[in-house]
Point group: C2
Chain length 390, copies 2
């Protein structure tokens, strides 16, 4: 099976490269022009026209009303949680299968991650299983949700759109309304992904994007906060720019703030990248389609496709090993990586990491199974061919 898989992967991938990364950035648009302009004018730092332009373009592209550019996705999550009223001692629901940043951001608020199981269809949080669980453990008192078992407030939930595949948001929104829990979307991986026709990141209270080097578009390091609430956007800008009160020369600050600004230099890169996003997405869909076709006859695995309610950006392509093949995961990882085809397993479930081992959790059977069966394969846009060919 492993040999056949490698053969099929090779049939999709170009043969002129000795190493294929999971996701490489591509800078063939206006990157150099915009970046050079920053250097030539001296506007490289925390103020500059590219920061404003990047925010404006994110708004146009996603259809979410406000975007605040920040230094990375982790910072975006941190501020999103603070602005959702998450306080020390609260619990925040999140899938156990996510990148560490989701859980870390909760910790920065002094709050406690509470781990939720995932579903096979989306690889993300399972809203139906969560409904059953909340019916058991949660109660609403005076418009706030409490965990009956720990006595702590459950303030927010952070669904994460894994590898770009949107979670099923409608039932989740129902749950949030019923239990008075704030929805904070971790959309770090889902720029270019739509749920029922609407871009991810606009469904909840507030959301976080990431433009890390391995994402669909990159600013070197970067992120953004998205929200449809003008007041929240204003507070996000304020908190991420040291909470300085505007004044011609005086330095007054009215809250504990952060230096989470995205430098203009990085925003310039982002503007050029956003222009190319539709092209990247088309290439990525082509690549996913080719993988799907090539892998359909490989026994023992399934290529992960977008759920039927969503259009995914296919950020990272993934294969799901059958239960019976799960024990061969590491063998498969070794063989592919040795041959220069980069592959990677799912993240380790957050509940297994030492600093989160004591956090509350529901039954995590599906996540535990997914963790051993999911493998990412090379997903750079260029692997889908030139856009005009695609």
């Amino acid at each position: 099976m492993i040999d056949l898989l490698i053969e099929k992967l090779r049939s999709v991938l170009p043969d002129d490269r000795s190493f294929l990364a999971l996701h490489e950035p591509n800078f063939q648009g206006n990157e150099w022009q915009y970046v050079k302009e920053c250097l030539d004018t001296g506007w490289v730092s925390s103020v500059g026209k590219y920061v404003d332009l990047f925010e404006q373009k994110l708004v146009e592209y996603t259809g979410v009303s406000h975007a605040v550019a920040v230094v990375n996705g982790t910072a975006a999550l941190h501020i999103s949680l603070l602005l959702s009223g998450v306080e020390a001692g609260d619990e925040v629901l999140m899938p156990t299968l996510t990148f560490i940043a989701t859980a870390n951001a909760v910790s920065y608020c002094g709050a406690i991650p509470h781990f939720v199981d995932c579903e096979f269809r989306t690889l993300g949080l399972d809203p139906r299983k969560l409904a059953t669980y909340l019916a058991e453990i949660a109660e609403v008192r005076q418009d706030e949700c409490y965990n009956r078992q720990t006595g702590r407030r459950i303030k927010a939930i952070v669904p994460m759109h894994t590898f770009g595949h949107p979670v099923d948001l409608d039932p989740l929104l129902d749950l949030c309304a019923r239990y008075q829990i704030e929805l904070v979307e971790d959309a770090a991986e889902s720029l270019g992904s739509f749920y029922k026709g609407q871009h991810t990141g606009g469904f909840g209270h507030i959301a976080a994007l990431s433009f890390n080097g391995n994402k669909v578009i990159t600013t070197g390091g970067g992120g953004a906060i998205l929200t449809n609430d003008a007041e929240l956007a204003k507070r996000a800008k304020h908190l991420t720019t040291t909470a300085k009160v505007p004044h011609k020369w005086e330095y007054n600050h009215d809250a504990i703030g952060y230096n989470y600004r995205l430098p203009n230099l990085n925003a310039a890169l982002g503007c050029a990248q956003l222009e190319q996003l539709p092209g990247f997405l088309a290439q990525k869909r082509t690549l996913a389609k080719r993988y799907q076709e090539a892998l359909q006859d490989v026994p023992g695995l399934t290529f992960v496709t977008e759920p039927d309610f969503a259009k995914s950006n296919y950020w990272l392509n993934a294969i799901l090993l059958d239960e019976t093949e799960a024990h061969r995961r590491d063998e498969l990882l070794r063989a592919t990586n040795e041959q220069g085809i980069m592959t990677r397993p799912f993240w380790t479930g957050m509940h297994k990491l030492p600093m989160f081992a004591d956090c509350p959790r529901m039954d995590l059977t599906v996540a535990e199974s997914l963790e051993w069966r999911t493998i990412n394969i090379p997903s750079s846009p260029f692997l889908g061919g030139r856009h005009d060919e695609a």
Copy 2:
């Protein structure tokens, strides 16, 4: 006096500019080349040769054994405090006259700033006055220092080298040894400043640099942690890179970590800027000398010069109004800014800001006086003339 001051400032400053900022960056070295290389090779993000090179060059320049590049000076301070063992509920001593980041970073640790008075000579923390104060309020029990008045542990002290002028470190080091307090240098403003021949940032446990757009050199946004302790440097790198445990493909993390990496793109800028640092410093010394000469006959003020134990980078030039002229501060700020000569007062004392108003403090008479009497004037390197002329 204000008219004469403006006339004298004009005699030093070029007359072909309608607006002179406080500190402008200058990109006339290899910035283009290095940044373009990042774009051409695709290495813009969290790994890349410029990050390593930048760290190595910082070590060479400062003579401090280890440097860890991070996303900004605030992040550098945050991690420096964590690595000095600052925990929730501890107190951290710092001058009340500092940029907000110093106090914010303490808050991120859940600790409490404890404000110390400044001295005229350095504009920074006054070690002699602090000695008298600690004799009154502090006691050492089992190798740890406690504030007798609040019962809290005093874990660290953060001297800040204001505008690049080093504080008097020797008596401070004595105090730290006597009271078992960790010394964390906020060297955000003092790259290129030396105390008794040795670069700032190497005297205490650990130190923070900033490469914000207004600093002596800039990376757009950026900072670094400096330390002479190899083990600390390793932990700083680990904590600032999400505390990931190295593995070929597995995602394990062994602590609550941060995404505080400096992107390679920004590090590339830093490498080019560091090459020009000696030139910038020469220009800045020339400018300071010209200011000093031009302003010596203006009654009612003194130009701030480096303390005799130090060589300052003269990051921001400053004038100190006489007591009798302090009431004219805002008038002076208005007149100069209206004429396109940017000036700025000292920061508002941290103890006056709402979120720090309840923090412990000593008598702050000198700081309160300095706050009303200190004004920064344009300090960009190019104002000192071309380097080869300088």
